[in-house]
């Protein structure tokens, strides 16, 4: 009997005006209800309402794309939290990172962020691997594959720009090497081949204060400028671009006929 009461309490609860105003549909009891759930929910609307069987087989999807996205969300969240305690200046950066472990509440926020970043790189790679192995880049999904490649690149860039922020030896030297490659860019890097071509008369246009590396660091060597720059790249610029491409990526997944499968 108690069962019964409980049941119709829930019935009334989920049937209530407020509940409906928020979630539109009540409890999905039947096919229609379940469809409605997905259709009427912002967070689920990038799913179709129904899928071919293999699309829910982990064996087929490995869920890597989903995890990549999930990790991106985790990174955004933890990243924002870290920004409350981290100041990208040569006076503070290093010590703030020490404090993140020593005194900041929930001492492992930085760890979560860092390991999640590594994990995301791996997840993205596996996602690409899966997509390749199932030949899912083939028509009509060629372009989405390209976007995927772009996303992969930005994943790496995000990870790379984040690498400088602790402002320790690992950081500065990894970035030194990386940024010196920029200096070796053909034509626009002061060390690169053909740089001499970009000159008017004997006025060189590309020099230590005017080449790719300089634009990257905002300075002739890694210092306060580079730190700030990488911080903005890492926290604002690249994420925005990445999000933009993600949106397109997901949208294309739907528009290119949902998840791939044999015809």
């Amino acid at each position: 009997m108690a069962e019964e009461e409980k049941k119709d309490f829930w019935a009334r609860f989920f049937g209530s005006y407020i509940w409906k105003s928020i979630f539109r549909v009540g409890i999905p009891r039947d096919r229609r209800g379940r469809l409605m759930q997905v259709l009427s929910n912002f967070f689920l609307h990038l799913h179709p309402v129904s899928l071919p069987k293999h699309a829910v087989k982990l064996k087929y999807t490995w869920c890597m794309g989903g995890l990549s996205f999930f990790l991106f969300i985790v990174l955004t969240f933890t990243g924002v939290l870290l920004m409350f305690y981290y100041r990208p200046t040569i006076e503070y950066a290093y010590n703030d990172v020490i404090d993140l472990r020593e005194t900041t509440p929930m001492g492992i926020m930085r760890e979560i962020h860092r390991w999640a970043a590594h994990l995301m790189v791996i997840a993205v790679w596996f996602h690409m691997f899966r997509v390749f192995m199932t030949g899912s880049y083939k028509a009509p999904r060629e372009f989405n594959w390209c976007i995927g490649v772009v996303l992969l690149t930005f994943t790496l860039l995000l990870s790379f720009t984040g690498y400088l922020l602790p402002w320790d030896q690992l950081a500065i030297w990894a970035i030194t090497v990386g940024s010196n490659m920029a200096a070796a860019t053909p034509f626009v890097g002061q060390e690169g081949p053909g740089v001499a071509l970009l000159s008017i008369g004997n006025v060189n246009l590309i020099g230590r204060t005017s080449d790719a590396r300089f634009l990257l660091l905002g300075d002739t060597s890694i210092g306060a400028g580079a730190l700030l720059r990488f911080y903005v790249f890492h926290c604002v610029f690249f994420p925005l671009i990445a999000v933009f491409f993600m949106v397109v990526h997901f949208w294309r997944v739907r528009k290119d006929g949902g998840i791939s499968g044999p015809v």
């Binding site: 928020i22 999905p28 404090d99 005194t103």
Partner: protein, 194 residues
Amino acid sequence: MADSKQDQADKLKAAGAGKAHGHVAKGHVASGDGQTRRSFISWVVVGWAAFAACMGGLATITMRFFAPNVLYEPQQTFRAGAVSEYAPGEVSTRWKSKFGIWIVRLDDRVVALSTICTHLGCTPNWLASEQKFKCPCHGSAFRMNGINFEGPAPRPLERHKIYLDDEGIMVVDKTVSFRQERGQWDEPESFVAV
């Protein structure tokens, strides 16, 4: 982020319960006894209870994260010199800019007045000619001893802990404050007797 998770969770909760029903029926059809049903319901309950707990946990973590464990605030205690350095009836603005404190020598005691207006936290000015602290923001005014008598200020200025160290120098400690309306102005550490 957290709340989006949250209501996703709610929705799923709904679904979970819903499924429960959907399945209950099936369960009946399938096997007459409620065995499966009870065990199955318990799974759902455990699952969603734990999930709710997790969401709570995440919320707590986030909230906790906003309360820093260490501060880098400017020095809160300073040595304000010997009593003799202040003339009777003097309001010294010596420490105003550095520490936000007026050292006031009243007839029988020296006190450390906070320079924060009790109305909305502006910094009043000492008008020697009118012998009062006048706040530029909303015109509150305080007497030399910190009692409010003009404008909207609800209560007197706060006084801070002040005491003599072993060398007879006055030390002001801003971390401790004494309020007149709580009758704290006669507590031994709220003034240095002269």
